[in-house]
Symmetry: C2
Subunit: 216 residues, 2 copies
Amino acid sequence: MHDIILNKKVLAKNDAIAGENRQKLKEKGIFTINMISAPGAGKTSIVEKTVELIKGRLKPAVIEGDIQTDLDTQRLLIYGIPVRQINTGRSCHLDAHMIYHTLPWLFEQEGLDFLIIENVGNMVCPAEYDLGEDLKVAVMSVTEGDDKPLKYPALFSSSKYLLINKIDLISYTNFNVIKATENALRVNPELKIIKTSCVDGTGLQEWAETCCNRVF
Amino acid sequence: MHDIILNKKVLAKNDAIAGENRQKLKEKGIFTINMISAPGAGKTSIVEKTVELIKGRLKPAVIEGDIQTDLDTQRLLIYGIPVRQINTGRSCHLDAHMIYHTLPWLFEQEGLDFLIIENVGNMVCPAEYDLGEDLKVAVMSVTEGDDKPLKYPALFSSSKYLLINKIDLISYTNFNVIKATENALRVNPELKIIKTSCVDGTGLQEWAETCCNRVF
């Protein structure tokens, strides 16, 4: 309980900084999304595919959140875009303060209009920490089970989009897309859902178009 | 940073209660494991299979940790064993205090010698909160990527066993078991690794024997 009371104070402070971040990003004309999922749901692969598909139309940068390592940053640097790694150490989520400190670097990059923040792999706390983004994107993979929206409601209720990823694996699992969709919409009736696969390309064009349409 | 300083105080308090839990569980002769993984790695399925395979030899109980819902408890009650749900609300992990409050219920159950605690699906904070268990068991599924031990080292370094689960799906993924094993052992050279599948049964007998051997 003590844990949770402390947390409220931390969250209030976070929200104030997130407000500043949002204001600054808006002034610079940078549309920002915050991608959240369990570890291994395929966020980095989606970021790679998104960057490939939107390049030429948008000018993206990526902030990579991880407890340790810069493995994801290494994967993204080959796309020739600005990428910044944040290692959170023992913290299970990015917070607004961490993003605040990357803004000077971000604003040095020329002509950016789109920022993808890939959060630490965790379905719980990242949903509670506003970073100053325009919207949150939840990612869940079909190997995780269709009950996840009910078990981790904060993520699904705070997100605008849900990508149901690794859809190419669906026939090898007992994942029920109809049930998953019902569960997700029960938690958040406004959620927009796209089924995606970075293996066979399902839904990626639709997702890339969505990104472009949000920015312009 | 403030977040992390607060956290140290919380952890010290948690550790003291975990010590009490450990003492009480030991006095009652209950061997306790704390299972930790990302959401959707298959913990509940492993718990189901473990209970099936050890019943008759061990007398198990299960504590289910979830943010919300009692879906996992409902799945386990059909095995005719004592199951207790803990809903953590906004907390991303079980803590020793939550377990402390379930001990009176647990000690009312007759003849128990084995307790499985299924933690909240999260690879970060559950690894830091001692609950008073005898050992931690990490679970990762092959759909999550073989780099996870490097990205979430605290879990792998604090666990005695690692179950590499959903091994039946391996040919549909780019998961490299050798790399995953190397990464895990780099973080924790003492880690004992078992490959498991709740679909085709791989490794479950070995895992069940391991449980029985730890208790006796």
